[in-house]
Symmetry: C2
Subunit: 135 residues, 2 copies
DNA sequence: CATCCTATGTTTAGCAT
DNA sequence: GATGCTAAACATAGGAT
């Protein structure tokens, strides 16, 4: 073989492979995936926060129970506000449970305005549909 | 120029444009961006959860204070566990504040094992570095 | 183990509807 | 103000280090 005239595209890697969204079997791969995607989500969270002036909190528990979290302005502030709103709306809160894999979308209806609540419900339904579809 | 013999690929759109990660000026664009990226993060959260058997909670407040959240198995369970751990670890908890935009990475060191705490600190530093770099 | 590499799968900015 | 479209930006699986 003459390396100088080699015509092969010479692909160094197989590139990103398509995967099914189900539990990664190989323990090591699962760990690596968790690590990479955790960073990915945190990055997305900071971007959303910066781009749209939104407050955000992300809390993760690895399968071994290790905690990881990110928040802007910080986790506690976001949680406090979330808890405050969910409490105050005792019979005004709305929780939708997705049956597929136990995933849950929660949205508190804290406004008194009925129309706002309606719009929020719609939004929630759309999001639920989206998330379920994507799985 | 002869339009009929035009050899251009005829691009219908400009495709995804590169943007700076800073507050989107146009109000409408900002809203659309929030909506799209919110869905993106929820999707990423469900994927991470499914792929790695991790528990996750994401809470978002739009700039107008509207709440959106996603959790697996559900937001409350994840928050409860998070709060339980952060409480118990009063002088064992560790919070790093990123000065740049007020973003905060929090990680509770609940294990008694010192080495685990050390490893965790490293992880936390790496994450912080990553997030700050990406902005 | 975290990180680097790179081909490819996935997300999304800017418009149009 | 949510959705569909398309091209380009971006994230990441698999493998190597």
């Amino acid at each position: 073989m003459d390396a100088t005239t080699d015509q092969r595209p010479l692909k160094r890697t197989r590139g990103r492979q398509k995967i099914e969204i189900k539990k990664v079997e190989k323990e090591n791969s699962r760990y690596v995936t968790f690590s990479k995607r955790k960073n990915g989500i945190f990055k997305k969270a900071t971007e959303l926060s910066t781009l749209c002036g939104a407050d955000v909190a992300v809390i993760l528990f690895s399968e071994h129970g290790k905690v990881f979290s990110y928040g802007n302005p910080n986790v506690e502030k976001v949680l406090d506000q979330y808890l405050a709103e969910t409490e105050e709306g005792d019979d005004n809160s709305c929780v939708l449970e997705s049956g597929s894999n136990g995933g849950t979308l929660t949205q508190t209806l804290q406004e008194q305005d009925y129309e706002k609540s309606l719009r929020r419900l719609e939004e929630m339904k759309r999001t639920l549909k989206m998330v379920k579809k994507e799985q």
